[in-house]
């Protein structure tokens, strides 16, 4: 999983590099278009196209029947029953490509979340770093800060969690690696101070399949680490179109679906 994440991470970094300094929506439109193409090709390859065409024809016939026999209640009810049955079959036929496409889509969304899901920090904007420790682990935690990042308040040692939190202030834009010393262990955490579209990782988590699937932006913590989570609080981002702000995922789904429907004819796909 780590290997897959690092390969995918590299691919998306390269893919989004040309859009890094552009407004986020531009890159998202391009990525959505690519995903639409991928979705169409995947759908075509994994779905039973003749069966889908046939069931859609039946649904259309049922609708036509309702219109044609609009004075015959029995015929209308029969047609509605047939439409319902054909709709269920249509949904069933879509289940197979859905299952096939779900895996790559989850991977893609997880990657995009770290490019589009968080606001960039600004220089001199305070940010919270927190290390959560295993129950009973030593609370002897300290920081190694690179040049350009300073500690803005003393560490808060939280016995009840247990863990430690710091308020950091990056003094200039850039990508930093923070060192966190837990006992004899040295852990690292990325800090990106930049308002461009770039990979930002809010968490480093203990290794598990789900954690690595959903938080692929940084490698997981070592399995035997005293830390279970390192969190760096980037603010959530909304993408705004004509003053209407929404989570990037809403725009992504909207664009992907609209573009897929717009392009399905070119690829000879029946959806």
């Amino acid at each position: 999983m780590s290997l897959l994440n690092s390969v995918l991470g590299g691919v998306f970094d390269i893919l989004l590099l040309p859009f890094r300094s552009l407004p986020p929506m531009i890159g998202l439109v391009v990525i959505s278009a690519l995903c639409s193409v991928g979705m169409l090709l995947g759908y075509k390859a994994t779905s039973n196209q003749p069966a889908i065409e046939a069931v859609k024809r039946k649904i259309a016939a049922g609708l036509f029947e309702i219109r044609l026999y609009n004075d015959d209640i029995v015929a209308i009810l029969k047609a509605q029953g047939a439409i319902l049955r054909d709709n269920l079959r249509y949904l069933g036929l879509n289940m197979v490509p859905m299952v096939f496409m779900m895996v790559p889509f989850v991977l893609v969304i997880a990657q995009l979340q770290f490019h589009y899901g968080y606001e960039g920090l600004e220089a001199n904007e305070p940010v919270l770093l927190q290390v959560t420790l295993q129950e009973g682990a030593s609370s002897d935690v300290s920081l190694e800060l690179p040049d350009g990042v300073r500690l803005d308040a003393p560490a808060v040692r939280m016995a009840a969690l247990p863990g430690t939190a710091w308020r950091l202030v990056p003094e200039s834009s850039g990508s930093y690696e923070l060192g966190i010393i837990v006992g004899s262990e040295r852990l690292t955490k990325t800090l990106v101070v930049d308002d461009t579209v770039t990979r930002r990782s809010p968490f480093r988590l203990a290794p598990s399949f789900l954690n690595q699937l959903l938080y692929p932006a940084e490698p997981p913590l070592p399995a035997d680490s005293a830390a279970v989570e390192i969190a760096l609080h980037y603010p959530d981002r909304e993408l705004s179109v004509l003053g209407f702000g929404q989570h990037w995922l809403v725009w992504f789904f909207l664009l992907t679906i609209v573009l897929a429907f717009a392009m399905k004819g070119w690829f000879g796909v029946t959806i």
Binding site: P154, W166, R167
Partner: protein, 666 residues
Amino acid sequence: MKALRLSAIALLAVAAAGALFSLGARAQTPTENMIVMGIDGLDYTLVREMIDAGRLPNLARMEREGQFGPLETAATPQSPVAWSNFITGLDSGGHGIFDFLHRDLTSGLPFGFPYQATALNEPPGPEFKMAGYVFPLWGGDPKLGRHGTAFWQHLADAGIPATVVRMPANYPPVGAGERELSGMGTPDLRGSPGESFFFSTDRRQFMKTDVSGGFIYPADVIDGKFEGTIIGLDDNPLTEAENDAISTDFVVYVDPDEDVAKFEVGTQQFVMQAGEWSDWKTLDFEMLPYLASMTGAVRFFLKSVRPEFEVYVTPIQVDPMAPALPIAEPAEFALELAEVTGRFYTQEMPEDTHAINNGVLDLAEFLEQTRIAREETVAQFRYLRDTFEGGFLFSYFGSGDQTSHVMWGVTRDTGHPQYDPALHDQYRELIPNIYEEFDALIGETLDTIDDNTTLVVMSDHGFASWRRSFNLNTWLVENGYMTLQRQTSLPVKEFFNGVDWRRTRAYSIGISALYLNLRGREPSGQVAPGDRMALLEQIERDLLATIDPVTGEPAVTKIYIRERDFHDRGNLEIGPDIIVGFANGTRGSGNNALGGIAEEVITDNTEEWSGDHIMDHRTVPGVLFASRPLQREATSLQNLAAALLAEFGIDDFPDGTTPITVINPE
């Protein structure tokens, strides 16, 4: 000879040009644009002194190039009344605002229940109830208590765009201008004028009983962790259950050694050191699971970590990014301001003077809070000024007034009962420094505006030291106008507890308002309507004859009887029968406002509120500056708007010179 002739022609040309220039200067072109800075409580006498001392160079420039003079305030000089005079060109008889508080006689109480005069609520409409939840169909919306037409409606009618920011007595905004943000009169999210939250491990704090304008809760820090609750509403209006409070929780982790803590408020997490204020944090209050919630915004202040753990939370502001109450017109205007300058205090008077009275914030902490509030309003003003594209812009600044309330007497009056030489030495320049800050902002603005724009700087009243407190209810008791039940002992804290209403002819609610217990009007009325005027004149004589036993001077110098002293009509009936103009230095006592009766009529003012202006209005004038002479004379708040409108060629606005009748829409 030819050279001589040429020289003569040149001389004549120069003379002609000079004459034309001077003619042009006298025949001023009409104003195309105007910016008005309304600075609450800017005192005429202090401004005059500071100009003469060379400390307000930009206001001095306005005096030199334009005009400067005192501006007569309203009777009574309370901000909602004064600003309503300005807004409508009417006096209280027309606009219907006589005091911060009015009384509701439909409540059934003999004295009527006090309510905030400028903001009312429509009665709730029909409701739909299901599964323990209540779904109001309509009604219950806030409604402006002020009557009369706002002057910027006339600007709008003339096609002049008006932006009106934080105008007092304009909640909810009337919507006549292009953009309006409400000001004084705007409640916090709880619907009150502003109730803060204070959590403390110190018994001396949370055992206090005389707390107003906020809540003090005990705090338990267990294993370095404190869990607090902020109550958004005491009773969820969407449930049938009573006292079903809606609240949001927060957690604070305290470091075992350092004075530092980490806060978790919803999804927001931040570290604070003792003595720090947070930026705005949002709070979500769920009213109907997954369907209805409201958002508020607060700032946290970590007052202390040890030996006592103490956290102050500001009153819950309406979140300008998701307003639950109508604070702006259009609503997007609040969002625009918040996006550009950050979230901001939306409640009527953000400076938490209650917190200092309750001993929750000390003086330095209070002053820091006022600085934050002032910077927010200044940032908004700069944004609006710098993007001003013409028309009319009004912006209100309130923090000078609130700071003066707390600091005026103790730093400027050696005769004040709480005058402290040490405090005086430390803070004597505080109020003058705030005046200098405003002067600098005015200078920036003068440098920004073009020749077609007039800058006006005005205030609603001045300031005076508040040395002596006058309890009108006690005076009424001592002078036989109010009778107590035999078993009643003084003091009475509030709501006339122990008053014998069958033998009471007058009572007082508010700071300087006096009502007769009138038959046919008050539920237990005793005074026959035919005896009313004679009784009012008798009370007037007795009040004017009252001498402060300590100073030997009259305690009251002006009486306003409503029919006699207010000229406008239509809403006169809302008001008190008499308004008392206390002598300069004396003010109505705070506990009188809600029907408290003290042991003595006049006592030293011992409140953490040493300056005031609710006195004889002639002694606390405001100021009026204009960057060029106004064409129409403005001498009072009531005729100021007419003079400003005249600059735009609008001449049909009331100015107090003729009786005006306003039809009460009710």
